[in-house]
């Protein structure tokens, strides 16, 4: 009996000892440790992977060039499984156990909103590559982003819809995503103020597969177009089911549409649909073409928006660390807050007093199974 008890006690003891040892090892390391939260698995896995590619690319480049402040950069990436709640858990782990000096992530606004209060409290600067909901940076002065925000994106799409002559529209909102709820709100504000009407407002939840119930209601209303500010996984199915029900109205949405799998799943159903995005690989600017070529040589495919945004946010962070001359959270924050005309792949980044980037948006369309550039909208 006694030795059974002892052996039971021995395991946790030796485990905690091992942890203690590894803990010591970390203290002694001279690397600059930065954390990344990405949805490597689950519903938005394509984005998490894209962001991760971009961040890794930036880290490798900086290390190849000798690191920052004479030290190598070490990246620790945590997967939040695209699950609500999980981003907070892994952020806590990165901040308190790994002692990261800064954090990159997430793309989905709901996840960034979970991360932000933790980073703010721990005085760890956090840069979100692609969360467009305005609430994200309102959490505090340690939270930054390198993309435009939804009041702008919603207005862009509303203006675009009106310019297309769509007066009567339906909207389908993903009620589980702050991004989608926010974008719907800003779209609606601008659209209805300028003469449009939203005839039907339907909603769905991330992970749904069947949208026929909502789409049948939209069909009955008879609209010019449908605004779907969702994520690519659901948008693909929504589009194909809409066509099956005989709805031929075009659809439009935001940067949540950006992934190659949208076209693979929806096929012809998304032909002639429009969405706003952060950059287009067709852009002839040197920065973008250089980046596209570099990425193609590594991965043999075109980089998605979130590869570029992941890269930009990491490079911006490194630049701030260099200028601050330290990795101290407050010093880096102060430099980040003064960011002006930082040359990013997705455009020059200038952060306003609310720590949001002011950048132009592009409108893309799907033509013959390819994403094609339509126009650029300046802020």
């Amino acid at each position: 009996m006694l030795d059974r008890l002892l052996s039971r006690a021995a395991l946790p003891l030796s485990l905690s000892f091992a942890l203690f040892l590894t803990g010591c090892g970390k203290e002694a390391s001279t690397d600059i440790v930065i954390g990344e939260v990405a949805s490597l698995t689950g519903g938005t896995a394509a984005w998490g992977k894209a962001q991760n590619e971009g961040v890794k690319m930036a880290v490798e480049e900086i290390n190849a060039a000798g690191g920052i402040l004479g030290k190598k950069v070490k990246l620790i990436t945590e997967d939040d499984q695209s699950k609500n709640g999980e981003a907070a858990t892994v952020t806590k782990k990165l901040v308190s156990r790994e002692n990261v000096v800064a954090l990159i992530g997430e793309i989905a606004s709901s996840k960034s909103l979970e991360m932000a209060p933790i980073c703010q409290k721990a005085s760890v600067p956090m840069i979100s590559p692609g969360s467009t909901n305005p609430k994200v940076t309102e959490v505090g002065d340690f939270i930054f982003r390198v993309c435009f925000i939804d009041p702008f994106q919603g207005t862009v799409m509303a203006k675009f819809a009106l310019s297309k002559g769509w007066k009567k529209m339906a909207v389908m909102t993903d009620v589980k995503q702050d991004y989608s709820v926010g974008l719907t709100q800003f779209f609606k504000e601008h659209f209805t103020k300028n003469g449009g009407t939203l005839a039907v407002e339907q909603s769905f939840s991330t992970g749904d597969k069947d949208f026929k119930a909502q789409l049948t209601a939209i069909k009955a209303a008879g609209v010019d177009a449908i605004f779907v500010p969702g994520y690519y996984a659901e948008v693909g199915l929504i589009a194909s089911q809409a066509r099956e029900l005989g709805i031929n109205a075009p659809m439009c949405g935001g940067d949540g549409w950006d992934d190659a799998s949208l076209i693979q799943v929806a096929g012809k159903a998304v032909e002639g649909c429009y969405f706003s995005n952060h950059f287009s690989t067709e852009d002839k600017s040197e920065a973008i073409q250089g980046f596209v070529k570099k990425y193609q040589s590594l991965k043999n495919e075109n980089p998605s928006t979130f590869v570029a945004l992941g890269y930009d946010s990491t490079m911006l962070l490194f630049d701030a660390m260099k200028k601050a001359g330290s990795t101290d959270g407050k010093a880096v924050r102060d430099v980040l807050a003064r960011t002006k005309d930082f040359p990013g792949i997705t455009g020059n980044i200038t952060l306003d007093e609310k720590r949001n980037a002011t950048k132009s948006a592009v409108i893309l369309t799907i033509k013959d199974g390819q994403i094609v550039y339509v126009e650029t909208v300046k802020p």
Partner: protein, 307 residues
């Protein structure tokens, strides 16, 4: 009215797939008195085997009519998943057969997680487009009702499989053995029934139906990922309980009811001021009501036959 009919149709097609999955739950419960929570994951594996079989056999089958290649892929996936179901039973559940039922139940949850995360490792975490095994085409019904031929074929396949299952259970020696086993395992063993073989067969049959369900579901909603089985599996489980678990017609009826209510709630919830998200909740509310007022399920009492 037209909108209502369309919603009813939508619900019917969704419900028919729930019914197909619910049968697997109900059969295993009938024979072994435990809920096989890994059933939804066999459903997922069915969809993925369809995806990969189409990748490998697609070129060879291309010259033939699509109905032939659909049948080949469907039958092969069903056989594959049947073998897998038998294997799961053999490895995970058989060693626990004479243990408390709770042990098997917990093991089933473990098997479910094992399949999901292995799937994520093997197939990747991102969703993949499912090939159009049935060429998309709209069938215009009277008025403005829209039905695709995918939906029609899914529905017909489900009905054929249900009839075949009914035949196997009611009119074959194996079916007789299954029913005997469900009535009293000890007595059936004494009468010369090889219980192990019958249980393996039941798992194989249930898994084959799950595989068919997976392929048909993926044809309707053409994107597959390793966690796609969880929600349909849960809904089908509710359908099985609703109809009276252990009862075959009950599972089919339960599936249809869940499918139709879910669609109607989804379609009309915004009209009565409910967010559409509540449509998933409705299935669970139904489950609670059934458990409160008729714990044996809708058809649980009237038919004594249990498989």
């Amino acid at each position: 009215m037209e909108q209502f009919l369309q919603q009813l149709l939508n619900g019917l097609f969704l419900g028919s797939i729930y019914a197909l999955i619910a049968l697997g739950y109900t059969m295993v419960y009938g024979v072994l008195r435990f809920i096989n929570f890994a059933h939804g994951d066999v459903f997922m594996l069915g969809a993925f085997s369809g995806l990969y079989l189409n990748k490998w056999l697609g070129p060879a089958l291309a010259p033939f009519h699509w109905s032939l290649s659909l049948t080949v892929i469907l039958v092969l996936s069903m056989a594959l998943c049947a073998a897998l179901g038998i294997l799961i039973e053999f490895l995970a559940y058989r060693p626990l057969r004479n243990r408390p039922r709770l042990n098997v139940l917990i093991t089933a949850i473990g098997v479910s997680l094992l399949i999901e995360y292995t799937g994520q490792l093997v197939f990747g975490a991102t969703q993949q487009p499912f090939p159009a095994l049935i060429p998309a085409d709209n069938i215009a019904l009277t008025g403005n009702l829209a039905v695709t031929n995918t939906q029609m074929i899914v529905f017909v396949t489900v009905v054929v499989l249900l009839v075949a299952l009914r035949y196997i259970v009611m009119s074959t020696r194996m079916g007789l053995a299954m029913r005997a086993l469900s009535l009293n395992p000890t007595a059936s063993a004494l009468m010369g029934v090889n219980n192990s073989v019958v249980i393996s067969f039941t798992f194989g049959l249930g898994s084959a139906l799950a595989a068919a369900g997976g392929i048909l579901y993926a044809s309707l909603y053409p994107s597959v990922e390793p966690f796609m089985g969880i929600i349909p599996g849960l809904k089908a489980f509710i359908a099985a309980v609703l109809g009276g678990i252990g009862n075959i017609p009950g599972a089919a009826l339960g599936g249809l009811i869940i499918g139709v209510t879910e669609t109607l709630v989804g379609g009309y919830s915004s009209a009565i001021g409910l967010p559409t998200g509540y449509k998933d909740g409705v299935a669970f509310v139904i489950l609670i009501l059934i458990l409160l007022f008729k714990p044996s399920g809708l058809l649980g009492k009237t038919e004594r036959e249990k498989v």
